[in-house]
């Protein structure tokens, strides 16, 4: 059994405002094995940032048992701080200092020896493509550069567990891809990553396990594949050369399954399916037997978008907008 980098049971947090108590986290359980990427996915206001703030010792939970990096979050907060690195949603760089000075500041605060700190700063500037910008104040950096510097600063002390709170929000596609590459490299070296995002694509690309958070509760958890299997929506789309073939095919599969939505003008037929190789082979074999030629075929498996929208029950609201 692998060790858990994060183990949380019944995490609770509410804030008091003028409308009374507002529950932000309502009993969240988390289990993140070491050396994996765990993604907390949810819409704005779901409680993602609050979760990160609690796990990274910034704010206290109202209730729940939490161990981070093997330490009790409440009683050993300083040990937790020694083991983690945090890159928050808002850039945590000193804008008046240069990139290099920011990294050296982190090295000093991590109590690295002078020479070691300089070496590490240089290495990180190279790794994050900031060598040229290293001597300029961070205020002059672009959003992507600032985010890279931010993450580089988090890495100075080689933390075992890294929190990334919406690391690519507001970045252009190229910067986003480069950030993904960096995150994947980190995990190769055995680091655990706790990532929050509102982009399904990002969770799908990076995470070993995904938890869906909505209104302070986890509504689903599993690998991307497991989550996709939770909801219907998979089908095989067949395109035919003419209406005769389409009709024949429809008759064939329709007779067997009672389903099969046809779009005569596009000459396509949708057959419900889980999209597995076996199901595709079976369908094609059936059509082959009757000599019905298929011009084109596409397999559609539900993506995380379907999962997300179905499970968070926001499909209606979103489509009305």
């Amino acid at each position: 059994m692998t060790n858990l980098a994060i183990a949380a049971n019944g995490l609770r947090k509410s804030y008091r405002d003028k409308d009374g108590d507002k529950v932000v986290l309502d009993g969240v359980d988390l289990a993140v094995p070491e050396g994996t990427i765990f993604s907390l996915l949810g819409p704005n206001g779901a409680g993602k940032t609050t979760t990160v703030q609690i796990l990274s010792t910034l704010i206290r939970a109202d209730g729940g048992q939490v161990q981070v990096a093997g330490y009790d979050l409440n009683r050993q907060a300083d040990d937790v701080r020694g083991a983690i690195g945090v890159t928050g949603q808002y850039s945590a760089v000193d804008k008046l200092l240069t990139g290099e000075e920011n990294l050296l500041l982190m090295a000093d605060l991590k109590h690295l020896p002078k020479r070691e700190g300089k070496r590490r700063a240089k290495e990180l500037l190279e790794k994050f493509d900031l060598v040229e910008a290293g001597g300029k104040p961070a205020a002059t950096y672009s959003g992507g550069m600032r985010r890279r510097l931010d993450l580089a600063m988090t890495l100075v002390g080689d933390p075992r567990l890294i929190f990334l709170d919406e690391p690519t929000t507001g970045l252009d596609p190229r910067s986003r891809r480069s950030m993904w590459g960096i995150v994947r490299d980190l995990v190769k070296n055995g680091v655990t990553i706790f990532l929050t995002t509102q982009y399904l694509e990002e969770a799908d690309e990076l995470a070993d396990r995904i938890a869906l958070l909505d209104h302070g509760r986890l509504i689903a958890e599993g690998t991307a594949e497991e989550l996709k299997r939770l909801i219907p929506g998979g089908h095989i789309e067949l395109t035919f050369a003419d209406t005769h073939l389409l009709e024949a095919a429809r008759h064939l599969v329709g007779a067997g399954t009672g389903a099969g939505a046809a779009a005569p003008e596009a000459l396509t037929l949708q057959v419900p399916s889980d999209g597995s190789v076996g199901a595709v082979r079976e369908l094609l074999a059936l059509l082959d037997e009757r000599s019905i030629d298929v011009a084109e075929m596409r397999v559609h498996t539900p993506d995380l978008d379907d999962v997300f929208l179905t499970l968070t029950g926001r499909q209606q609201k979103e489509s009305l907008r």
């Binding site: 010792t57 040990d79 605060l109 109590h111």
Partner: protein, 260 residues
């Protein structure tokens, strides 16, 4: 390493951060140095001739007034600088870097210590410039080196105290704009004391306030040390005020920072 060495190390790191920031953003420092100099010139050359005659005793006039007004201007400079410190702290708190510091295993107070030491160094430099200019325009102290040291010590103590107060006010302010208003009363305190005119010339209620407010004994002590006027028990009261303001503000700032 023990907790104390770590705290000292983190604090010195934060002081270096703060000094570097001050160098990178010099307009604030320039403003803090220039404003009191302008006030000094204004009071000496515009009001000084008339106010000096009203001091009573001695020859009066502009020359007497330069000597009288310097301690008041020095304290006013410190109060003006406190505004700058409060704004800087409030601005810093809105930056993500502070959240980063909070998630690191460092001495938490070191963030505040960095601000305080940085501001104190900035203000002492400003005071040195101010005294230099005062000497150039006719300030004639008769202090011995020991008296100079004592005056410098008391001013430094006051600067430390008022800077911790400014840090606490900056932490309490919801925005940097609010932080720039909070220390304004401090800037007016030298006027409502013995900073610019002797307190006996004021109406009763005002005189009562002027004699008992913390800045008056401090100004009287500095004046006594540098110019040989009677000090009486002002030195003890001044030291007590500085110690009380420093200690209360330090605790206030620390608990505010830890709570946020």
């Amino acid at each position: 390493m023990s907790t104390l060495t770590l705290a000292a190390r983190d604090s010195s790191t934060m002081v270096r951060r703060q000094l570097r920031r001050l160098l990178r953003y010099p307009s604030m420092t320039v403003q803090l140095v220039v404003t009191p100099v302008i006030l000094l010139l204004l009071f000496v050359y515009v009001f000084g001739g008339t106010l000096g005659d009203g001091l009573g005793g001695g020859p009066g006039g502009r020359d007497a007034y330069v000597n009288y007004v310097v301690p008041g201007i020095l304290l006013m400079a410190a109060a003006t600088a406190a505004t700058g410190t409060a704004v800087m702290v409030a601005t810093d708190m809105t930056e993500g870097i502070i959240a980063r510091f909070r998630t690191m295993r460092i001495s938490r107070a070191s963030v505040l210590t960095g601000h305080v030491v940085g501001s104190v160094i900035q203000q002492l430099l400003g005071m040195a410039v101010l005294i230099g200019i005062a000497l150039a325009i006719g300030f004639r102290p008769n202090a011995t080196p020991v008296e100079w040291l004592a005056a410098a010590g008391l001013l430094t103590f006051f600067v430390v105290a008022i800077t911790w107060l400014a840090v606490a006010l900056g932490l309490k302010s919801p925005t940097p704009e609010a932080a720039s208003n909070a220390p304004i009363p401090l800037v007016f305190l030298p006027f409502l004391g013995s900073g610019f005119v002797p307190t006996d010339s004021m109406p009763t209620v005002l005189r009562w306030f002027a004699e008992y407010q913390p800045l008056t004994p401090i100004m009287e002590t500095v004046r006594g040390l540098l110019l040989g006027t009677p000090i009486g028990n002002s030195a003890a009261i001044a030291t007590a005020w500085c110690a009380a303001i420093a200690a209360a503000s330090y605790l206030w700032a620390k608990s505010t920072f830890n709570k946020a």
